[in-house]
């Protein structure tokens, strides 16, 4: 899969990546495990915390307000376990093949199937990016920041981080934002959840107040869509390649992904706990949008708690905007055979940067259009994510089982068991949602 490297010239992108890899090799040879871990984490944490985006955090907030402490706490853990199963495969794929997800799909399956995969990604990413800027607008709107200022400010921040033209720099800045997803933890503490109820819910998977209703099914779908979405596959695999990970780094890639799933699950559960007071006090949050939760929580978590909640909403939208727009740019570069790295210079890599910035800019503009159907988009985006996942996972499973490209790192039986299990679960969830939608009287309202 490579030409004669003795005479191959190196690009600026190669040099930047080699500088990063040199640090990794030094840490490895000097047996510095913590330094090595620090250098190698990134794609896994970013993909998981990027998926704790605006609509996801609103979904978790709605869950807490509607169902309190119960079924959804262990269910969230299950969804992040599923996310780990799926994302771990992208780490192996990227580290072994040194190719991004889009590039592999087009190369191995051809333009026809690649077009479908890209179509799902493009539509999903556009809708999701719109909801991220909605969250940014809502979060900063709590502080009285005008929508135009909030949205444009976030867009400028996105552009600034990207124009560092260094993957390492972008990654570290994004990580520093992403860790603020844990801002929901102090809000949860301020909500004073009953610890014994929390522990009991993990053992009993209950209660489910009101029983299994159409609303319950919709929220289950929304929670699933809050943890597994197609852009995650494309982002993490391409980020692994951009970061320069190799087969020697697969173990750390797994640790990175597990760490991300754990942190994201903690933040998600914290968000559910944070809005549980609304459930306890019978506050109807069914029509709440982002900042409404922060306002409604003031009597129960105080102004500080509400402020932290609003900041968390802003952070969730911002990090997701960074990662999702990058996943679009990666896919574009890989499919067109052009630049596909944050290490690319501006001159040669301008299409990559143009797509990245345009993806975010289009979403930002849509959010500012008066009377745009933003509520509609927010409602459907997580559900659409669940529906688009089965085809995406099947492509992933086909690739990761392809011994021609994966060699000894292809899936074993255990990985296939869990991977197929996740796919079947997602298809069943979608079909149940379909049945409940077409026959609403099957379940109580």
């Amino acid at each position: 899969m490579y030409s004669d490297t003795a005479t191959a010239s190196v690009s600026l992108e190669d040099i930047k990546r080699a500088q990063d890899r040199r640090q990794v090799q030094r840490s490895r040879s000097n047996k510095q495990p913590w330094s090595l871990l620090w250098l190698l984490i990134g794609p896994g944490i970013l993909v998981m915390l990027g998926e704790n985006d605006g609509p996801s955090m609103i979904s978790y907030a709605t869950t807490g307000a509607a169902y309190g402490i119960g079924f959804f706490l262990p269910f969230i853990v299950l969804t992040f376990a599923m996310a780990y199963v799926v994302q771990e495969m992208t780490v192996r794929l990227g580290a072994v093949t040194k190719r991004g997800h889009a590039e592999l799909i087009y190369a191995r399956f051809g333009t026809f199937w690649g077009f479908f995969a890209m179509g799902d990604l493009a539509l999903g990413n556009l809708l999701t990016l719109v909801t991220e800027f909605i969250a940014i607008r809502a979060g900063l709107g709590f502080f009285g920041v005008p929508p135009v200022l909030a949205v444009l400010g976030a867009l400028i921040l996105n552009i600034s981080v990207v124009l560092s033209r260094r993957y390492w720099t972008w990654e570290r800045i994004a990580l520093s934002f992403a860790v603020f997803n844990l801002i929901f933890v102090p809000v949860a503490i301020l909500a004073h959840p009953v610890a014994s109820d929390v522990v009991r819910s993990f053992f009993t998977w209950g209660p489910i107040p009101g029983g299994v209703t159409g609303g319950f099914v919709l929220l289950v779908m929304s929670n699933i869509g809050a943890t597994v979405t197609p852009w995650m596959l494309f982002f993490q695999q391409s980020a692994v390649v951009d970061k320069g990970l190799t087969t020697a780094d697969i173990r750390h890639g797994r640790i990175d992904t597990a760490l991300g799933a754990t942190i994201a699950a903690v933040a998600a559960i914290a968000t559910v706990l944070a809005t549980t007071p609304l459930f306890i006090h019978h506050v109807d949050a069914s029509s709440f949008q982002g900042a409404d939760f922060a306002t409604a929580l003031v009597p129960y978590v105080g102004n500080i708690g509400a402020t932290l909640f609003a900041l968390g909403l802003f952070e969730s939208g911002l990090v997701a905007a960074l990662t999702i727009s990058l996943s679009s740019a990666y896919a574009f570069g890989e499919v067109t055979g052009s630049a596909r790295s944050l290490n690319s210079p501006l001159r040669g890599g301008w299409p990559f940067y143009a797509v990245l910035i345009s993806a975010a800019a289009i979403a930002a503009i849509l959010v500012l259009i008066p009377n745009a159907p933003l509520v509609f988009i927010t409602l459907i985006v997580n559900v659409i994510a669940v529906l688009a996942m089965p085809p995406a996972i099947v492509f992933l499973l086909l690739l990761v089982n392809d011994r021609e490209i994966m060699g000894q790192h292809a899936n074993g039986r255990v990985a296939n068991f869990f991977g197929i299990g996740v796919t079947v679960f997602l298809v069943l969830a979608g079909l149940i949602f379909a049945v409940v939608t077409v026959f609403p009287k099957l379940l109580p309202a």
Partner: protein
């Protein structure tokens, strides 16, 4: 892909013009170099795989219809 060499150094690394390949080629694996990366070939999809892919595509189309129906119902029921 257009190649750009770099003449200035960062972090004290040797100039790429002085030794353009030596240290970079030592650090990166061959398939990580942008100039030497070649494309994977097409794989033949089995009949079963094609049926699975088309079934999932039909599933997505069907579910888009279902989601649209759900939103229509939600909007017109006022919820």
């Amino acid at each position: 892909m257009q190649q750009e060499t770099h003449s200035s150094t960062e972090n004290g690394e040797p100039s790429a013009l002085d030794s353009p390949n030596s240290w970079v080629n030592e650090v990166l694996e061959p398939d990580q170099l942008t100039a030497s990366k070649m494309r994977y070939g097409r794989r033949k999809l089995s009949r079963g795989t094609l049926i699975l892919l088309w079934t999932l595509r039909a599933y997505v189309v069907f579910m888009v219809f279902i989601v649209s129906l759900a939103i229509w119902n939600a909007v017109h029921s006022g919820s």
